[in-house]
Protein backbone atom coordinates (compact mmCIF):
# COMPACT_ATOMS: atom_id res chain seq x y z
CA UNK A 1 0.00 0.00 0.00
CA UNK A 2 1.19 3.51 -0.79
CA UNK A 3 1.29 6.20 1.87
CA UNK A 4 0.05 8.71 -0.67
CA UNK A 5 -1.48 7.85 -3.99
CA UNK A 6 -3.19 10.04 -6.52
CA UNK A 7 -4.41 9.79 -10.06
CA UNK A 8 -5.24 12.73 -12.29
CA UNK A 9 -5.76 14.79 -9.15
CA UNK A 10 -6.90 18.24 -10.19
CA UNK A 11 -8.27 21.46 -8.82
CA UNK A 12 -9.70 24.29 -10.85
CA UNK A 13 -10.62 27.65 -9.35
CA UNK A 14 -13.10 30.05 -10.83
CA UNK A 15 -12.98 31.62 -13.31
CA UNK A 16 -10.50 29.44 -15.16
CA UNK A 17 -7.43 28.79 -13.04
CA UNK A 18 -6.03 25.29 -13.36
CA UNK A 19 -4.07 25.40 -10.12
CA UNK A 20 -3.44 21.65 -10.25
CA UNK A 21 -4.01 20.14 -13.67
CA UNK A 22 -4.04 16.36 -13.13
CA UNK A 23 -1.11 14.86 -11.23
CA UNK A 24 -0.26 11.24 -10.40
CA UNK A 25 1.51 10.33 -7.18
CA UNK A 26 2.64 7.02 -5.69
CA UNK A 27 4.66 7.58 -2.55
CA UNK A 28 5.83 4.64 -0.49
CA UNK A 29 5.68 4.62 3.30
CA UNK A 30 8.82 5.82 5.04
CA UNK A 31 9.94 8.15 2.24
CA UNK A 32 10.62 11.86 2.26
CA UNK A 33 8.97 13.20 -0.86
CA UNK A 34 10.02 16.66 -2.03
CA UNK A 35 7.51 18.66 -4.02
CA UNK A 36 9.47 21.34 -5.77
CA UNK A 37 8.01 24.30 -7.59
CA UNK A 38 8.06 28.06 -7.72
CA UNK A 39 5.40 30.52 -6.59
CA UNK A 40 1.98 29.65 -7.93
CA UNK A 41 2.92 26.26 -9.34
CA UNK A 42 0.22 24.49 -7.32
CA UNK A 43 2.08 23.11 -4.31
CA UNK A 44 -0.23 24.44 -1.63
CA UNK A 45 -3.32 23.51 -3.60
CA UNK A 46 -2.02 19.93 -3.82
CA UNK A 47 -1.28 19.81 -0.10
CA UNK A 48 -4.71 21.19 0.78
CA UNK A 49 -6.38 18.49 -1.33
CA UNK A 50 -4.27 15.70 0.14
CA UNK A 51 -5.01 16.90 3.67
CA UNK A 52 -8.81 17.07 3.10
CA UNK A 53 -8.97 20.86 3.41
CA UNK A 54 -9.87 21.36 -0.23
CA UNK A 55 -12.10 19.29 -2.48
CA UNK A 56 -10.51 18.10 -5.72
CA UNK A 57 -12.38 19.02 -8.88
CA UNK A 58 -10.94 16.03 -10.71
CA UNK A 59 -9.24 12.68 -10.12
CA UNK A 60 -8.79 11.05 -6.74
CA UNK A 61 -6.27 10.71 -3.95
CA UNK A 62 -5.76 8.23 -1.16
CA UNK A 63 -3.73 9.05 1.93
CA UNK A 64 -2.79 6.29 4.37
CA UNK A 65 -5.12 4.10 2.32
CA UNK A 66 -8.22 6.28 2.69
CA UNK A 67 -9.91 8.39 0.09
CA UNK A 68 -9.49 12.08 0.90
CA UNK A 69 -12.98 13.00 -0.27
CA UNK A 70 -15.13 10.20 1.09
CA UNK A 71 -13.10 9.32 4.18
CA UNK A 72 -11.60 12.59 5.36
CA UNK A 73 -11.96 11.74 9.04
CA UNK A 74 -9.84 8.62 8.76
CA UNK A 75 -7.21 10.53 6.79
CA UNK A 76 -7.05 13.31 9.39
CA UNK A 77 -6.45 10.79 12.20
CA UNK A 78 -3.28 9.63 10.45
CA UNK A 79 -1.72 12.80 9.13
CA UNK A 80 0.04 15.78 10.67
CA UNK A 81 -0.03 19.06 8.76
CA UNK A 82 2.00 22.25 9.01
CA UNK A 83 0.59 24.67 6.47
CA UNK A 84 2.49 27.37 4.66
CA UNK A 85 1.30 30.14 6.95
CA UNK A 86 1.81 28.74 10.40
CA UNK A 87 -1.81 28.78 11.55
CA UNK A 88 -1.59 29.65 15.20
CA UNK A 89 -3.72 31.36 17.80
CA UNK A 90 -1.56 34.22 19.00
CA UNK A 91 -3.41 34.85 22.24
CA UNK A 92 -2.56 31.44 23.66
CA UNK A 93 0.80 30.38 25.00
CA UNK A 94 2.74 27.67 23.23
CA UNK A 95 1.96 25.21 25.98
CA UNK A 96 -1.77 25.96 25.94
CA UNK A 97 -1.92 25.59 22.20
CA UNK A 98 -0.25 22.19 22.20
CA UNK A 99 -2.33 20.98 25.14
CA UNK A 100 -5.50 22.06 23.37
CA UNK A 101 -4.50 20.20 20.24
CA UNK A 102 -3.63 17.07 22.14
CA UNK A 103 -7.06 17.22 23.81
CA UNK A 104 -8.80 17.64 20.48
CA UNK A 105 -6.97 14.53 19.31
CA UNK A 106 -8.74 12.71 22.12
CA UNK A 107 -6.23 12.75 24.95
CA UNK A 108 -7.25 13.40 28.53
CA UNK A 109 -6.13 16.60 30.19
CA UNK A 110 -3.21 15.05 32.03
CA UNK A 111 -1.96 13.04 29.05
CA UNK A 112 -2.35 16.11 26.85
CA UNK A 113 -0.19 18.16 29.21
CA UNK A 114 2.50 15.52 29.17
CA UNK A 115 2.45 15.29 25.40
CA UNK A 116 2.71 19.09 25.16
CA UNK A 117 5.72 19.04 27.47
CA UNK A 118 7.39 16.35 25.37
CA UNK A 119 6.81 18.21 22.12
CA UNK A 120 8.01 21.52 23.53
CA UNK A 121 11.28 19.79 24.37
CA UNK A 122 11.55 18.23 20.91
CA UNK A 123 11.24 21.58 19.13
CA UNK A 124 13.33 23.44 21.72
CA UNK A 125 10.55 25.68 22.97
CA UNK A 126 10.47 24.65 26.62
CA UNK A 127 11.77 28.03 27.74
CA UNK A 128 9.26 29.99 25.68
CA UNK A 129 6.39 27.62 26.54
CA UNK A 130 4.52 30.03 28.80
CA UNK A 131 4.83 33.09 26.63
CA UNK A 132 2.08 34.08 24.22
CA UNK A 133 2.57 32.97 20.64
CA UNK A 134 2.23 36.60 19.46
CA UNK A 135 5.70 37.22 20.86
CA UNK A 136 7.35 34.30 19.08
CA UNK A 137 9.77 34.86 16.20
CA UNK A 138 8.93 33.43 12.78
CA UNK A 139 11.22 30.48 13.40
CA UNK A 140 9.66 29.75 16.78
CA UNK A 141 6.17 29.89 15.29
CA UNK A 142 7.17 27.41 12.60
CA UNK A 143 8.57 25.06 15.22
CA UNK A 144 5.43 25.35 17.32
CA UNK A 145 3.30 24.71 14.25
CA UNK A 146 5.37 21.63 13.51
CA UNK A 147 4.96 20.44 17.10
CA UNK A 148 1.20 20.92 16.84
CA UNK A 149 1.23 18.74 13.73
CA UNK A 150 2.90 15.96 15.73
CA UNK A 151 0.69 15.69 18.81
CA UNK A 152 -0.99 12.46 17.71
CA UNK A 153 2.10 10.64 16.33
CA UNK A 154 1.00 10.89 12.70
CA UNK A 155 2.09 8.30 10.13
CA UNK A 156 2.37 10.90 7.42
CA UNK A 157 3.54 14.46 7.82
CA UNK A 158 2.72 17.24 5.35
CA UNK A 159 4.95 20.29 5.46
CA UNK A 160 4.14 23.17 3.13
CA UNK A 161 7.29 25.25 2.66
CA UNK A 162 8.44 24.66 6.22
CA UNK A 163 11.55 26.81 5.96
CA UNK A 164 10.55 29.63 3.61
CA UNK A 165 11.58 32.92 5.17
CA UNK A 166 13.64 31.36 7.95
CA UNK A 167 17.25 32.16 8.76
CA UNK A 168 19.84 29.42 8.17
CA UNK A 169 19.96 28.32 11.80
CA UNK A 170 16.20 27.87 12.10
CA UNK A 171 16.23 26.12 8.76
CA UNK A 172 18.88 23.68 9.95
CA UNK A 173 16.78 22.99 13.04
CA UNK A 174 13.70 22.15 10.98
CA UNK A 175 15.77 19.92 8.70
CA UNK A 176 17.09 18.08 11.71
CA UNK A 177 13.59 17.44 13.14
CA UNK A 178 12.33 16.26 9.77
CA UNK A 179 15.26 13.88 9.32
CA UNK A 180 14.75 12.52 12.86
CA UNK A 181 11.04 11.97 12.31
CA UNK A 182 11.69 10.20 9.06
CA UNK A 183 14.21 7.94 10.76
CA UNK A 184 11.43 6.98 13.16
CA UNK A 185 9.37 5.87 10.18
CA UNK A 186 7.22 8.93 9.43
CA UNK A 187 6.49 9.49 5.75
CA UNK A 188 7.08 13.14 4.88
CA UNK A 189 5.51 15.12 2.04
CA UNK A 190 7.40 18.36 1.83
CA UNK A 191 6.91 21.27 -0.54
CA UNK A 192 9.71 23.70 -1.11
CA UNK A 193 11.11 26.35 -3.38
CA UNK A 194 14.62 25.53 -2.22
CA UNK A 195 16.57 23.09 -4.34
CA UNK A 196 19.02 22.57 -1.54
CA UNK A 197 16.23 21.53 0.79
CA UNK A 198 14.87 18.98 -1.66
CA UNK A 199 18.36 17.69 -2.39
CA UNK A 200 19.21 17.37 1.26
CA UNK A 201 16.02 15.83 2.65
CA UNK A 202 14.11 14.14 -0.10
CA UNK A 203 14.67 10.61 -1.36
CA UNK A 204 12.32 11.39 -4.19
CA UNK A 205 11.48 14.68 -5.82
CA UNK A 206 8.72 15.86 -8.12
CA UNK A 207 9.12 19.09 -10.02
CA UNK A 208 5.88 20.98 -10.37
CA UNK A 209 5.35 23.62 -13.02
CA UNK A 210 2.09 25.39 -13.74
CA UNK A 211 -0.02 22.68 -12.15
CA UNK A 212 1.64 19.60 -13.63
CA UNK A 213 4.52 17.36 -12.62
CA UNK A 214 7.23 17.81 -15.23
CA UNK A 215 9.85 15.47 -13.72
CA UNK A 216 9.96 12.92 -10.94
CA UNK A 217 12.62 10.67 -9.41
CA UNK A 218 15.42 10.63 -6.87
CA UNK A 219 17.65 13.72 -6.99
CA UNK A 220 20.47 11.52 -8.32
CA UNK A 221 18.30 10.05 -11.07
CA UNK A 222 17.11 13.47 -12.07
CA UNK A 223 20.60 14.88 -12.23
CA UNK A 224 21.83 11.84 -14.15
CA UNK A 225 18.91 12.21 -16.56
CA UNK A 226 20.55 15.33 -17.89
CA UNK A 227 23.33 13.09 -19.15
CA UNK A 228 25.76 15.93 -19.69
CA UNK A 229 27.90 18.41 -17.85
CA UNK A 230 26.85 22.01 -17.61
CA UNK A 231 29.03 24.81 -18.93
CA UNK A 232 27.87 28.33 -18.14
CA UNK A 233 29.36 31.20 -20.13
CA UNK A 234 28.83 34.87 -19.44
CA UNK A 235 29.77 36.91 -22.50
CA UNK A 236 30.89 40.51 -22.06
CA UNK A 237 28.98 43.39 -23.57
CA UNK A 238 25.60 44.81 -24.30
CA UNK A 239 22.11 43.29 -24.18
CA UNK A 240 21.56 40.65 -26.79
CA UNK A 241 25.12 39.44 -26.79
CA UNK A 242 24.02 36.33 -24.89
CA UNK A 243 21.60 35.51 -27.71
CA UNK A 244 24.32 35.90 -30.26
CA UNK A 245 26.68 33.76 -28.19
CA UNK A 246 24.02 31.06 -27.92
CA UNK A 247 23.52 31.11 -31.71
CA UNK A 248 27.24 30.64 -32.09
CA UNK A 249 27.56 27.84 -29.55
CA UNK A 250 24.82 25.79 -31.16
CA UNK A 251 27.31 25.22 -33.97
CA UNK A 252 29.60 23.29 -31.59
CA UNK A 253 30.38 19.73 -32.53
CA UNK A 254 27.43 17.47 -31.65
CA UNK A 255 25.03 20.45 -31.63
CA UNK A 256 24.58 20.53 -27.86
CA UNK A 257 21.51 21.97 -26.14
CA UNK A 258 22.07 25.66 -25.43
CA UNK A 259 19.88 27.95 -23.36
CA UNK A 260 19.98 31.65 -22.61
CA UNK A 261 19.34 32.44 -18.96
CA UNK A 262 19.52 36.13 -18.15
CA UNK A 263 22.85 37.42 -19.39
CA UNK A 264 24.43 33.94 -19.46
CA UNK A 265 24.44 31.03 -21.81
CA UNK A 266 24.11 27.47 -20.53
CA UNK A 267 25.54 24.63 -22.62
CA UNK A 268 24.62 21.01 -21.83
CA UNK A 269 27.48 18.98 -23.16
CA UNK A 270 29.09 15.64 -22.34
CA UNK A 271 32.64 15.74 -21.02
CA UNK A 272 32.48 19.43 -20.31
CA UNK A 273 36.17 19.76 -19.49
CA UNK A 274 37.03 18.95 -23.08
CA UNK A 275 34.43 21.36 -24.42
CA UNK A 276 35.83 24.46 -22.75
CA UNK A 277 38.57 25.03 -25.29
CA UNK A 278 36.27 24.75 -28.35
CA UNK A 279 33.73 27.02 -26.65
CA UNK A 280 36.29 29.72 -25.98
CA UNK A 281 37.71 29.39 -29.46
CA UNK A 282 34.36 29.57 -31.22
CA UNK A 283 33.26 32.63 -29.25
CA UNK A 284 36.56 34.44 -29.76
CA UNK A 285 36.39 33.77 -33.49
CA UNK A 286 32.95 35.34 -33.54
CA UNK A 287 34.27 38.40 -31.73
CA UNK A 288 32.53 37.68 -28.42
CA UNK A 289 34.50 38.34 -25.27
CA UNK A 290 33.99 36.14 -22.23
CA UNK A 291 33.63 37.54 -18.70
CA UNK A 292 33.15 34.26 -16.95
CA UNK A 293 33.03 30.57 -17.72
CA UNK A 294 32.22 27.73 -15.29
CA UNK A 295 31.94 23.98 -15.54
CA UNK A 296 29.71 21.98 -13.19
CA UNK A 297 28.03 18.64 -12.75
CA UNK A 298 24.30 19.02 -13.19
CA UNK A 299 22.38 20.18 -10.12
CA UNK A 300 18.68 20.04 -9.39
CA UNK A 301 18.63 23.62 -10.59
CA UNK A 302 19.76 22.44 -14.01
CA UNK A 303 17.08 19.79 -14.00
CA UNK A 304 14.56 22.43 -13.06
CA UNK A 305 15.77 24.77 -15.77
CA UNK A 306 15.78 22.04 -18.38
CA UNK A 307 12.28 20.87 -17.53
CA UNK A 308 10.59 24.22 -17.03
CA UNK A 309 12.66 26.64 -19.07
CA UNK A 310 13.32 28.91 -16.11
CA UNK A 311 15.23 28.99 -12.85
CA UNK A 312 13.36 28.44 -9.65
CA UNK A 313 12.77 31.85 -8.17
CA UNK A 314 12.59 31.48 -4.45
CA UNK A 315 11.43 34.50 -2.56
CA UNK A 316 13.63 34.37 0.51
CA UNK A 317 11.38 36.66 2.50
CA UNK A 318 8.54 34.18 2.26
CA UNK A 319 6.39 36.78 0.59
CA UNK A 320 4.16 35.24 -2.01
CA UNK A 321 1.22 36.09 -4.16
Amino acid sequence: MYAIQAEQLARTFKPDIHAVAGIDLAIEPGKVFGFLGQNGSGKTTTVRMLTTLLRPTGGWARVAGFDVTSNGGAVRQRIGVALQEAGLDEVQTGRELLTLHAQLFGMGRRQARERAEELLAIVDLTEAADRRVAGYSGGMQRRLDLAAALVHHPEILFLDEPTTGLDPISREAIWRYVADLNRQGVTVFLTTQYLEEADRLAGEVAIMDAGTIVAQGSPEELKASIGTDVVTVRPAGHDGVALKAAETLRRLEGSPEVRVVGDSVVVYIPEGARAIAPIVLLLTESGIEITDITLARPTLDDVFLRKTGHHIEATPTGAHA
Binding site: T51, E85, G87, E90, V91, L100, L104, R132
Partner: protein, 252 residues
Protein backbone atom coordinates in the same frame (compact mmCIF):
# COMPACT_ATOMS: atom_id res chain seq x y z
CA UNK B 1 -20.25 12.99 23.87
CA UNK B 2 -17.23 14.04 21.90
CA UNK B 3 -19.19 17.07 20.70
CA UNK B 4 -19.87 18.29 24.25
CA UNK B 5 -16.37 17.60 25.50
CA UNK B 6 -14.64 19.32 22.60
CA UNK B 7 -17.06 22.23 22.58
CA UNK B 8 -16.23 22.69 26.25
CA UNK B 9 -12.50 22.62 25.56
CA UNK B 10 -12.87 25.15 22.76
CA UNK B 11 -15.16 27.29 24.91
CA UNK B 12 -12.46 27.49 27.56
CA UNK B 13 -9.94 28.55 24.95
CA UNK B 14 -12.27 31.31 23.84
CA UNK B 15 -12.86 32.51 27.41
CA UNK B 16 -9.12 32.52 28.03
CA UNK B 17 -8.87 34.82 25.06
CA UNK B 18 -11.30 37.33 26.59
CA UNK B 19 -9.61 37.18 29.98
CA UNK B 20 -6.47 38.32 28.18
CA UNK B 21 -8.24 41.22 26.53
CA UNK B 22 -10.10 42.64 29.54
CA UNK B 23 -10.55 46.07 27.96
CA UNK B 24 -13.04 44.57 25.50
CA UNK B 25 -15.16 43.05 28.27
CA UNK B 26 -15.06 46.25 30.28
CA UNK B 27 -16.34 48.08 27.21
CA UNK B 28 -19.09 45.51 26.79
CA UNK B 29 -20.19 46.22 30.33
CA UNK B 30 -19.68 49.96 30.30
CA UNK B 31 -21.71 50.77 27.19
CA UNK B 32 -25.03 49.22 28.29
CA UNK B 33 -24.63 50.59 31.81
CA UNK B 34 -23.91 54.05 30.42
CA UNK B 35 -27.04 54.00 28.25
CA UNK B 36 -28.97 52.62 31.19
CA UNK B 37 -27.86 55.48 33.47
CA UNK B 38 -28.48 58.16 30.86
CA UNK B 39 -31.95 56.99 29.78
CA UNK B 40 -33.08 56.37 33.32
CA UNK B 41 -31.76 59.78 34.37
CA UNK B 42 -33.43 61.55 31.48
CA UNK B 43 -36.81 59.87 31.32
CA UNK B 44 -37.70 58.34 34.69
CA UNK B 45 -39.11 61.59 36.15
CA UNK B 46 -41.66 61.89 33.34
CA UNK B 47 -42.28 58.24 32.50
CA UNK B 48 -45.19 57.94 34.92
CA UNK B 49 -47.23 60.75 33.47
CA UNK B 50 -46.02 60.25 29.87
CA UNK B 51 -46.80 56.54 29.50
CA UNK B 52 -47.69 55.18 32.90
CA UNK B 53 -44.46 53.47 33.88
CA UNK B 54 -43.64 54.23 37.48
CA UNK B 55 -40.52 52.07 37.85
CA UNK B 56 -38.58 53.21 34.78
CA UNK B 57 -35.31 51.83 36.20
CA UNK B 58 -36.78 48.34 36.21
CA UNK B 59 -38.34 49.03 32.81
CA UNK B 60 -34.90 49.83 31.33
CA UNK B 61 -32.97 47.00 32.98
CA UNK B 62 -33.80 44.38 30.28
CA UNK B 63 -32.72 46.85 27.57
CA UNK B 64 -29.28 47.06 29.17
CA UNK B 65 -29.31 43.25 29.35
CA UNK B 66 -30.00 42.81 25.65
CA UNK B 67 -27.37 45.38 24.74
CA UNK B 68 -24.79 43.57 26.82
CA UNK B 69 -25.71 40.26 25.20
CA UNK B 70 -25.37 41.74 21.72
CA UNK B 71 -22.08 43.37 22.64
CA UNK B 72 -20.60 40.15 23.96
CA UNK B 73 -21.54 38.19 20.84
CA UNK B 74 -18.06 37.96 19.36
CA UNK B 75 -18.06 34.34 18.13
CA UNK B 76 -18.42 35.48 14.52
CA UNK B 77 -15.51 37.91 14.75
CA UNK B 78 -13.43 35.25 16.51
CA UNK B 79 -14.12 32.72 13.78
CA UNK B 80 -13.21 35.24 11.09
CA UNK B 81 -9.95 35.86 12.91
CA UNK B 82 -9.25 32.13 13.16
CA UNK B 83 -10.01 31.68 9.46
CA UNK B 84 -7.77 34.57 8.43
CA UNK B 85 -4.92 33.41 10.67
CA UNK B 86 -5.18 29.88 9.24
CA UNK B 87 -5.89 28.53 12.72
CA UNK B 88 -9.37 27.42 11.71
CA UNK B 89 -7.77 25.00 9.23
CA UNK B 90 -5.52 23.74 11.98
CA UNK B 91 -8.56 23.04 14.15
CA UNK B 92 -10.42 21.53 11.22
CA UNK B 93 -7.55 19.07 10.79
CA UNK B 94 -8.20 17.55 14.21
CA UNK B 95 -10.79 14.77 14.54
CA UNK B 96 -13.02 17.04 16.60
CA UNK B 97 -16.68 17.02 15.45
CA UNK B 98 -17.14 19.93 13.01
CA UNK B 99 -19.96 21.61 14.98
CA UNK B 100 -17.66 21.89 18.01
CA UNK B 101 -15.56 24.40 16.09
CA UNK B 102 -18.41 26.90 16.16
CA UNK B 103 -20.26 25.70 19.25
CA UNK B 104 -17.19 26.28 21.43
CA UNK B 105 -17.11 29.95 20.57
CA UNK B 106 -20.88 30.32 20.80
CA UNK B 107 -20.92 28.82 24.29
CA UNK B 108 -18.18 31.22 25.33
CA UNK B 109 -20.42 34.08 24.19
CA UNK B 110 -23.23 32.69 26.30
CA UNK B 111 -20.98 32.48 29.35
CA UNK B 112 -19.81 36.06 28.86
CA UNK B 113 -23.40 37.18 28.37
CA UNK B 114 -24.47 35.51 31.62
CA UNK B 115 -21.63 37.14 33.56
CA UNK B 116 -22.33 40.61 32.13
CA UNK B 117 -26.08 40.26 32.66
CA UNK B 118 -25.41 39.11 36.23
CA UNK B 119 -23.49 42.30 36.89
CA UNK B 120 -26.18 44.39 35.23
CA UNK B 121 -28.94 42.80 37.31
CA UNK B 122 -26.90 43.50 40.44
CA UNK B 123 -26.41 47.12 39.44
CA UNK B 124 -30.13 47.33 38.64
CA UNK B 125 -31.16 46.02 42.02
CA UNK B 126 -28.77 48.39 43.76
CA UNK B 127 -30.22 51.34 41.87
CA UNK B 128 -33.81 50.47 42.63
CA UNK B 129 -34.97 48.46 39.63
CA UNK B 130 -36.35 45.77 41.92
CA UNK B 131 -37.01 42.14 41.02
CA UNK B 132 -40.67 41.27 41.54
CA UNK B 133 -40.18 37.61 40.68
CA UNK B 134 -37.50 37.20 43.32
CA UNK B 135 -34.17 35.35 43.12
CA UNK B 136 -35.64 32.60 40.94
CA UNK B 137 -36.75 35.24 38.49
CA UNK B 138 -33.25 36.70 38.41
CA UNK B 139 -31.97 33.21 37.68
CA UNK B 140 -34.44 32.86 34.84
CA UNK B 141 -33.18 36.15 33.43
CA UNK B 142 -29.72 34.58 33.27
CA UNK B 143 -31.19 31.60 31.44
CA UNK B 144 -32.87 33.97 28.97
CA UNK B 145 -29.52 35.75 28.57
CA UNK B 146 -27.73 32.48 27.74
CA UNK B 147 -30.45 31.32 25.35
CA UNK B 148 -30.77 34.63 23.55
CA UNK B 149 -26.98 34.93 23.31
CA UNK B 150 -26.70 31.50 21.67
CA UNK B 151 -29.48 32.17 19.19
CA UNK B 152 -28.32 35.68 18.35
CA UNK B 153 -24.61 34.96 17.96
CA UNK B 154 -25.37 32.20 15.46
CA UNK B 155 -26.25 34.89 12.96
CA UNK B 156 -22.74 36.36 12.89
CA UNK B 157 -21.26 32.86 13.04
CA UNK B 158 -23.04 31.83 9.87
CA UNK B 159 -21.81 34.95 8.06
CA UNK B 160 -18.29 34.32 9.36
CA UNK B 161 -18.28 30.75 8.09
CA UNK B 162 -19.76 31.67 4.77
CA UNK B 163 -17.60 34.66 3.94
CA UNK B 164 -14.58 34.60 6.28
CA UNK B 165 -14.87 38.38 6.22
CA UNK B 166 -15.15 40.84 9.07
CA UNK B 167 -17.30 43.18 7.05
CA UNK B 168 -20.01 40.58 6.83
CA UNK B 169 -19.84 40.00 10.55
CA UNK B 170 -20.23 43.71 11.27
CA UNK B 171 -23.55 43.47 9.44
CA UNK B 172 -25.01 41.47 12.26
CA UNK B 173 -24.55 44.40 14.64
CA UNK B 174 -26.24 46.63 12.12
CA UNK B 175 -29.15 44.24 12.20
CA UNK B 176 -29.45 44.19 15.98
CA UNK B 177 -29.84 47.89 16.59
CA UNK B 178 -32.96 48.39 14.51
CA UNK B 179 -34.40 45.25 16.11
CA UNK B 180 -33.77 46.62 19.58
CA UNK B 181 -35.08 50.09 18.84
CA UNK B 182 -38.07 48.81 16.90
CA UNK B 183 -38.96 46.93 20.04
CA UNK B 184 -40.53 48.85 22.90
CA UNK B 185 -37.19 49.73 24.40
CA UNK B 186 -37.96 53.14 25.88
CA UNK B 187 -41.74 53.10 26.16
CA UNK B 188 -44.38 50.39 26.30
CA UNK B 189 -45.74 49.13 23.00
CA UNK B 190 -49.19 50.50 23.83
CA UNK B 191 -48.03 54.05 23.19
CA UNK B 192 -46.50 53.25 19.78
CA UNK B 193 -48.26 54.61 16.74
CA UNK B 194 -49.61 52.48 13.89
CA UNK B 195 -46.66 51.40 11.72
CA UNK B 196 -44.26 51.29 14.64
CA UNK B 197 -46.65 49.16 16.63
CA UNK B 198 -46.94 46.79 13.70
CA UNK B 199 -43.16 46.47 13.38
CA UNK B 200 -42.83 45.96 17.12
CA UNK B 201 -45.48 43.25 17.01
CA UNK B 202 -43.64 41.18 14.41
CA UNK B 203 -40.25 41.82 16.00
CA UNK B 204 -39.13 38.83 18.12
CA UNK B 205 -36.97 41.08 20.30
CA UNK B 206 -40.19 42.70 21.54
CA UNK B 207 -41.26 39.47 23.23
CA UNK B 208 -37.86 38.78 24.74
CA UNK B 209 -37.85 42.29 26.14
CA UNK B 210 -41.42 42.07 27.47
CA UNK B 211 -40.83 38.65 28.98
CA UNK B 212 -37.71 39.82 30.78
CA UNK B 213 -39.47 42.99 31.86
CA UNK B 214 -42.37 41.05 33.34
CA UNK B 215 -39.94 39.24 35.65
CA UNK B 216 -38.50 42.53 36.88
CA UNK B 217 -41.69 44.58 37.14
CA UNK B 218 -44.63 42.22 37.65
CA UNK B 219 -43.48 38.86 38.97
CA UNK B 220 -44.44 35.58 37.27
CA UNK B 221 -46.48 35.86 34.06
CA UNK B 222 -46.21 32.48 32.32
CA UNK B 223 -47.72 33.59 29.01
CA UNK B 224 -45.17 36.38 28.60
CA UNK B 225 -42.31 34.04 29.48
CA UNK B 226 -43.60 31.48 27.02
CA UNK B 227 -43.67 34.09 24.29
CA UNK B 228 -40.14 35.16 25.17
CA UNK B 229 -38.81 31.63 24.85
CA UNK B 230 -40.81 31.06 21.68
CA UNK B 231 -39.20 34.17 20.19
CA UNK B 232 -35.74 32.94 21.16
CA UNK B 233 -36.50 29.53 19.67
CA UNK B 234 -37.66 31.24 16.49
CA UNK B 235 -34.44 33.22 16.17
CA UNK B 236 -32.43 30.08 16.97
CA UNK B 237 -34.25 28.11 14.27
CA UNK B 238 -33.25 30.72 11.71
CA UNK B 239 -29.64 31.16 12.81
CA UNK B 240 -28.99 27.42 13.27
CA UNK B 241 -30.28 26.71 9.77
CA UNK B 242 -28.14 29.54 8.44
CA UNK B 243 -25.07 28.18 10.21
CA UNK B 244 -25.57 24.65 8.97
CA UNK B 245 -26.12 25.96 5.46
CA UNK B 246 -23.04 28.18 5.72
CA UNK B 247 -20.88 25.27 6.83
CA UNK B 248 -22.17 22.98 4.10
CA UNK B 249 -21.67 25.47 1.33
CA UNK B 250 -18.50 26.99 2.74
CA UNK B 251 -16.16 27.85 -0.08
CA UNK B 252 -13.24 25.60 0.68
Amino acid sequence: MRLFRDSGILMLRSLRESMRQPAIEIGNLFIPLFFFAVTVGAISSISEQAFGVSNFTGFQLPVAMLQAIAGSAVAGAGIVNDIQKGYFDKLALTPTPRPALVLGRMLADAVRAVVLVGVIIAVGILTGAGMESGPLGALLLLVIAAAFSLSYTGFAVSLALKTGSNQAVQLSFLLFFPLLFLAPAFAPKEVFSGWLEFLATINPVTYILEGSRSLVLNGWEPDRLLKAFAAIAGIAAVTISMTVWAYRTRKV
